[in-house]
């Protein structure tokens, strides 16, 4: 079985997104360049920019700096047949897989919650053929976003080769025209809609991520045809002008801006608040059964009007202050 992998020249699974750079250019040619106020509501952003059948890419690190309000709203509105880049994904892909919103996924990391264990509902969903799967690695998807951001159709790389991960991808091999070496060719990924949570944005969508890691968000933002930004705080446009080096995502990538304080719960927001470990434990325990899973979504998504009500349900400001103290090491003895 292993031998056949070494000379394999192409992956056998489905390529979900068109990598043609001229098709992407034709889209971007018509993307609005005007600096206009894009501030809207969570509900309106999802209604306008996420459509059944779309392929989504979510920023952050699965349970760090995730756009929870937008994800819950996608579930609440019952979007269907969504594709997704399962890139460093955890709670984000779990929400869309466990609720039947997703029917295809480019997987690099799903189901797992790092040291907390696995989500039973996500595992059940991804074991079913109801979700069509193509496997990659975290960096393969990161570089696929980079190829999109660069306006290319593929990018050469030296990962995946010789493995079943390559076999179950939609990558191909290519011979380097300069060295004759074999590289993987990773197809560019142009998501229909990207969704990223950041610390600060102005009304036009210029974004800053002043604390913590960036993952692949600069590339993901640029590769996405449409982009929804949720932010902890809206900031005045002049602050962007005063320090342009701090801008991670420029406004022209962005279609909607939503201000959602505590918008990454139960995820960590670096510099703002820590993981809600009690919530994750409750979630992972609850979704062990079908009834539990249904109950969770009834209580925390469909049973609340909006993210404000959700925050009240998880413990409100008092809870978030507690998580902020942990993140800021306020009661720690060291650091």
């Amino acid at each position: 079985m292993y031998d056949e992998l070494i000379g394999l020249t192409e992956g056998q699974e489905e390529l979900f997104v068109d990598p043609d750079p001229d098709h992407a250019r034709a889209f971007f040619k018509n993307k609005n360049r005007a600096m206009v106020n894009k501030v809207t509501t969570v509900e309106q952003a999802v209604t306008t920019f996420v459509h059944d059948g779309d392929y989504l890419a979510v920023g952050g690190f699965g349970h760090v700096r995730i756009p929870s309000a937008i994800l819950y709203e996608i579930v609440r509105q019952g979007k269907r047949n969504l594709g997704m880049a399962g890139h460093t994904s955890i709670y984000d892909s779990d929400l869309l897989a466990s609720t039947g919103c997703m029917d295809r996924c480019d997987i690099s990391y799903v189901i797992g919650y790092e040291i907390r264990g696995l989500s039973a509902s996500a595992r059940k969903a991804f074991q079913s053929k109801a979700i069509r799967k193509t496997d990659w690695s975290n960096c393969a998807l990161a570089w696929r976003f980079a190829a999109g951001a660069m306006g290319l159709s593929f990018i050469p790389s030296r990962n995946l080769l010789g493995t079943n991960t390559f076999q179950r991808s939609a990558a191909k091999t290519i011979t380097c025209p300069f060295t004759g070496k074999t590289f993987a060719a990773l197809p560019a990924l142009y998501p229909d809609c990207g969704i990223i949570h950041v610390h600060e944005a102005d009304a036009y969508g210029n974004c800053r991520i002043p604390e913590g890691i960036l993952v692949s968000d600069p590339q993901l933002a640029r590769a996405s045809k449409k982009l929804i930004i949720s932010c902890e705080r809206l900031i005045p446009h002049d602050e962007i002008r005063a320090n342009p080096q701090a801008t991670i995502i420029p406004y022209w990538c962005v279609d909607a801006v939503v201000e959602v304080p505590y918008g990454s719960h139960p995820g960590n927001m670096p510099g703002e608040y820590w993981f809600d470990e009690d919530f994750f434990k409750m979630y992972l325990d609850t979704v062990k059964t079908v009834e539990g899973t249904e109950g969770f979504y009834k209580d925390y998504v469909h049973g609340v009007r909006d993210y404000g009500e959700y925050l009240e349900k998880i413990g409100g400001v008092a809870k978030m202050r507690e998580l902020r103290a942990i993140d800021k090491l306020i009661y720690a003895n060291h650091g």
Partner: protein
């Protein structure tokens, strides 16, 4: 000598492999604890790199995730995954620490699925994450894992992450960067390396009180045994004190 559990042994043995001023790409769990212990004990200038983009934090507490706030605490740079992975591809990263559900005699790892139907697997695991990238692009791969014959198998169900694939020369034939590959496997029973000629896994050092027979009983394939078989030094009192008091006081990893 202080008593220790097998997780503490894994962490201490792992930490000893990291020399000062080396770069190490760190995953969740035991590898984090091992790196933090090395930093505090014998390699203050070891440079941990985390896949979400953080480099060389002064870890104030054990991170829960390779992307959380702790990983960029007093770091040198909070960058992108693209940047840190490109640093690996450029040949600047010495070590990576990985785990997996299954491993074979060539160090190939499975963290994707069990079964033979890819679209409807018997059991689906998370997938590669960064593991395939790191084992492809870092110079030396160290695997840290408990040892039993369900985990150490003749053939993995799915090669998520490349070891030596089918043996000597196979990585290069597939196109992987020259001179990279598996280096050590640290288990609760022993330290394993790889035979230079065959690239097969080999027992190099037995942990205190463990026999070759015991290791073989817990392995699903035929293991080679090094000619100069050594005995692993048990964790020192100082290693255990720093591990328990400073690295993992809440027992997240070592379970105390």
């Amino acid at each position: 000598m202080t008593d220790f559990n097998s997780l503490e042994l894994l962490v201490c043995v792992g930490s000893r492999m990291l020399e000062d001023n080396s770069t190490v790409f760190v995953g969740t769990g035991v590898p984090m604890a091992a790196t933090m212990l090395a930093q505090k004990l014998h390699s203050p200038n070891v440079i941990p790199i985390f896949e979400a983009g953080a480099v060389a934090p002064l870890l104030p507490a054990l991170p829960i995730s390779v992307g959380d706030s702790r990983t960029s605490h007093k770091a040198l740079i909070a960058s992108t995954m693209n940047d840190v992975m490109e640093t690996c591809q450029r040949g600047m990263v010495d070590y990576t620490f990985l785990g997996g559900a299954q491993i074979d005699m060539y160090g190939n790892l499975n963290s994707t699925m069990i079964g033979d139907n890819y679209q409807e697997p018997k059991v689906r695991f998370p997938g590669s994450g960064g593991a395939n990238d790191l084992a492809s692009l870092c110079w030396k791969t160290i695997v840290i894992t408990p040892m039993d014959d369900r985990r150490f198998v003749e053939q993995v169900d799915f090669i998520t992450t490349p070891g030596y694939l089918t043996g000597k020369g196979a990585r290069e034939a597939a196109g992987l960067p020259e001179g990279t590959g598996p280096y050590k496997v640290i288990t609760n029973l022993c330290i394993l390396g790889y035979d230079d000629d065959t690239c097969r896994m080999m027992i190099e050092s037995l942990h205190p009180g463990v026999t070759v027979e015991k290791v073989k009983e817990n392995c699903g394939f035929e293991l080679l045994v090094a000619e100069n078989l050594e005995e692993t030094h048990p964790p020192t009192d100082e290693e255990l004190r720093i591990l328990r008091e400073e690295v993992d006081p809440d027992g997240y990893i070592i379970g105390r």
